[in-house]
Symmetry: D2
Subunit: 103 residues, 4 copies
């Protein structure tokens, strides 16, 4: 069974109660939503750039950063990953262009 | 068993072979990496704004958009989600600040 | 005498008192800081993409959009362009790396 | 006569021929368009966040950063500020909603 976004999220929740000195995740969360949002924004810029540069390894690394920082931002806002996945499931049960139009 | 990022990705791969008229995903992919990267960047800005505004429902919706458009961008760059999850697993097997320092 | 950022700013201030039906600037401002910030973020993503794509004409157009939307965002936050230019002058009177280190 | 964007640009052009050890501007330019675009993207995220947080001083500082890094990015792409100002003048000679619709 391979590593999933839920596994990563479980790890983030676990780390969030560590001390900021021992965990980067705890450190980010201790700085609040604003800092977490800033990090997500920066990583998004970097995955945009890496993908346009056609740099495969860098795109993989930056995509990983986006996923990690998005989960941290959700945690900072006390939103569970399940709420986001439920929203995605709801949208996916609709289809194609129709789904987009419904947003 | 709840909806997972792998499920969403499977749906995106399935849709990517539809016609652009029938599928928003196929439409995006037909416009190339540049368009897919632009959409991801825009959605990242929107989740930053929604989270800072403390708007819970909007943050959930925009986080869903970020996940969806990140997967589409990976697909546009012919990168599999597994490659990104492997990278996250590798990082997570390390810990806390040490892990960040190693990046 | 060529068109300056101050000229553009004067035009934005002038338009800001028009009705939202008659002026795009007034329309943006009527939607508040959040909308103005979103537009700036989107235009920044687009100038990043255009410049990486090496698309000269598009980069010029998107850079123009960034300048315009930055001024609108300042106006939305009741910050004058002079305050920003004074900050830039202050920094520029210092030099090079030293200046960056001082930020 | 107050400090203008043209003054800042003249300073950036002057610095661009300095050694990367002596000038932050020269350092950025020596790293290429990709690095300059990344910095602009990051500063844009920061001005978005500062303005939403309603932090006046920080918004001024980040807006200054956006202007500086936009000019550096133009320089990296061998685009003159005049070309961008001409585009803005052209747009401004049109008006309001009509102008936006014409883009």
């Amino acid at each position: 069974m391979s590593f999933s976004l839920q596994d990563l999220n479980a790890r983030i929740i676990e780390r969030s109660s560590a001390s900021p000195e021992q965990s980067y995740t705890a450190q980010l969360l201790s700085q609040g939503v604003q800092k977490c949002a800033q990090k997500l924004g920066e990583e998004a810029v970097e995955v945009v750039i890496a993908s346009l540069a056609g740099n495969r390894q860098e795109t993989i690394g930056e995509a990983a950063d986006v996923l990690y920082h998005l989960l941290v931002l959700l945690r900072a806002g006390d939103i569970s990953l399940d709420e986001v996945m439920d929203e995605l499931e709801r949208r996916t049960s609709q289809s194609g262009i129709a789904e987009k139009a419904a947003r």
